[in-house]
């Protein structure tokens, strides 16, 4: 592992240099909250952010994208894929979100490889940021094992006071650093400071699950008929906010829109949510998850069991976004603890 030192005053210059060649997507303030958006001015980058409303996956799986153009003039419609990818740097992603991107990478490469996501992923470099304190009381990254990351980034920054240490994760990251940033070699003192910072951070994060997250799949396997699902079904608004802010949710819907001349059409892909009333309705009118309780159960099983079993990485990264977004206070930590307490 190679370590470089990036003095803090060099960060704006680095961002500016990156912006010459890349779309730089980083944390910015939005009212009292933060969002990942393309950076227009290096001064708006807020590396001191706690958590963003939407995760950085917006740079790889945008909420809405055009996926194909369809020519309707011939006898048979002619479909041409549209892949909207551009060289991108995701700057300042926290490690929970890095773990989530690993899951998305696997999900979009499985079965039918998704060229839209994969092409964007291929053109994206990730500069992640070590968290030194919890975002707020809803973070449970320590429970989910996402409080740090050993892979999944090209460069990884840790704040050691007046500078960031930069772990080089990939050759592409190293080349990017050489080209766009003024860094220096790490001294023994830098390494000592880094170790101090990393040791000091662990006690600041508390465990909030009453059990080891590795038990989740086995725990949920016994909980399919648990009374909690009916209770959540009573409370849930089915607004879809929990899944729309989730960094590991990747479901989408496709819709075609024709031009007014009826000569061409666009195929649009948009995020979808298993919590919405119509999500599981199929041709013929049957809805396989008509009850809110069934939809809630589906979400918790995805997060705690099915995604992990399918992609061999955690389906929930403990970011707590779903908890903050839920207007009826459905709290994934409380749900898992309740199930554990009654097992």
């Amino acid at each position: 592992m190679r370590l470089r030192i990036l003095p803090k005053e060099e960060v704006p210059r680095m961002v500016q240099a990156l912006m010459e060649d890349y779309r730089v997507v980083g944390p910015k303030a939005k009212g009292p909250k933060f969002v990942f958006e393309p950076i227009v001015d290096p001064a708006e980058m807020r590396l001191d952010y706690n958590i963003t409303i939407l995760p950085p996956k917006v740079a790889l799986q945008p909420p809405q994208e055009r996926v194909a153009k369809i020519d309707l003039e011939g006898e048979v419609p002619q479909t041409d894929p549209l892949i909207e990818a551009e060289p991108t740097v995701i700057f300042g992603a926290h490690t929970c979100d890095i773990h989530a991107l690993r899951l998305l990478d696997r999900a979009f490469a499985a079965d039918y490889p998704d060229n839209h996501y994969l092409k964007r992923r291929q053109e994206t470099l990730i500069i992640s940021l070590e968290c030194l304190e919890p975002c707020d009381e809803h973070s449970f990254c320590k429970d989910m094992g996402t409080l740090t990351a050993d892979e999944g980034y090209d460069l990884h920054l840790t704040d050691i006071g007046d500078a960031y240490t930069v772990h080089i994760g990939t050759e592409a990251g190293e080349a990017l650093l050489e080209r766009c940033a003024n860094t220096r070699a790490a001294t023994d003192d830098d390494v000592r400071r880094l170790n101090e910072v990393l040791s000091a951070k662990w006690p600041r994060f508390t465990h909030r699950l009453n059990f080891d997250a590795a038990e989740l799949p086995a725990l949920l396997a016994t909980a399919y008929e648990h009374p909690i699902w009916a209770e959540l079904g009573e409370r849930c608004l089915s607004c879809g906010s929990c899944t729309n802010v989730c960094p590991t949710c990747y479901c989408f819907n496709m819709l075609d829109t024709v031009s007014l001349t009826l000569k061409e059409a666009l195929r649009i892909r948009r995020w979808d949510s298993c919590q919405l009333d119509e999500f599981a309705r199929v041709a013929g009118g049957e809805n396989f998850r008509e009850a809110r309780a069934a939809r809630q159960r589906h979400r918790f099983f995805r997060k705690g069991k099915w995604l992990r079993e399918r992609f061999d990485t955690t389906g929930c990264v403990g970011c707590g976004r779903c908890i903050r977004a839920c207007l009826v206070n459905i709290n994934i930590v409380e749900v898992f603890n309740t199930i554990h307490g009654s097992a």
Binding site: V35, E37, L237, G240, S241, R292
Partner: protein, 253 residues
């Protein structure tokens, strides 16, 4: 649908009890989507044209039904039109017109028309669908112009118009908005039909519910959310009846 000799589908616009703001949005969309006039022929549109032909295939209806004689006129339109579309909140859900349904009719008539109340015939406001079959609807007060264009396109190709059946929260989240509840405001977004691009929360205001309530809303949960946000029972009812009084009164019966 049979197009006219020029290859265009003939459309008409009619209004009942309304402010004509939705028709104004239609006129506005004609200026931003010039292809609209290539795609359809407008044969009857009082607000925009002196033409008054009756050979239309698609009829757009703005406004609520508030008088007996409205019904007769509406039925004649229904007989002529292959497709009848409720345009905007007043036609779709009876909108704010139905606020009067919450009060005794005599009281409302005296309040509005004073001593001449007897001169004006009126009854509780109803959506267009309470009188004739409605084939499609475009929600909102006023309608969203992009959605209007999408509905026209869907009708031209014979598809079901793409009106969302999910709540405003979805569009609001996809835009990465700060939830207005998190800045101390209240919002009907969790139970209101999307399609407006969450325009009010995007600009920092709570949703007023102008696009109608989604199918299968969790109204008890929504009431609790509003209660937790500090609203009194009356204020909660006001939120539910501002644009959706007709629905609330129907539910009571």
């Amino acid at each position: 649908m049979m197009a006219g000799k020029n290859g265009k589908v003939k459309v008409a616009f009619f209004d009942f009890a309304c402010c004509e703001g939705c028709q104004l949005t239609v006129i506005d969309s004609l200026q931003t989507h010039l292809d609209l006039l290539e795609a359809v022929e407008i044969v009857n549109f009082r607000e925009a044209s002196s033409e008054q032909r009756q050979d239309y295939q698609i009829a757009f209806i703005e406004g609520s039904i508030t008088r007996k004689q409205d019904e007769e006129r509406l039925r004649r339109i229904r007989e002529q039109a292959d497709i009848l579309v409720a345009l905007g909140a007043c036609a779709h859900t009876a909108g704010i017109n139905a606020l009067k349904n919450l009060k005794p009719l005599d009281e409302v008539r005296r309040y509005v028309y004073g001593e001449h109340a007897d001169w004006y015939d009126t009854y509780p406001a109803r959506p267009v669908s309470a009188v004739v079959q409605v084939d499609a609807f475009i929600p909102g007060c006023p309608i969203d112009r992009e959605e209007f264009v999408e509905v026209v396109k869907a009708l031209l190709v014979g598809k079901k118009p793409p009106i969302p059946d999910y709540p405003v929260c979805v569009e609001c989240k996809l835009k990465g908005n700060v939830c207005v509840f998190h800045v101390g405001k209240v919002c009907m977004g969790p139970v209101t039909r999307a399609g407006c691009g969450a325009i009010c929360p995007t600009y920092g205001d709570g949703c007023e519910g102008c696009r109608g309530i989604i199918p299968n809303p969790n109204e008890n949960a929504m009431e609790e959310v509003l209660d937790e946000a500090g609203l009194t029972l009356d204020e909660i009812m006001d939120r539910f009846t501002m644009f959706n009084a007709y629905r609330e009164l129907e539910a009571e019966e």
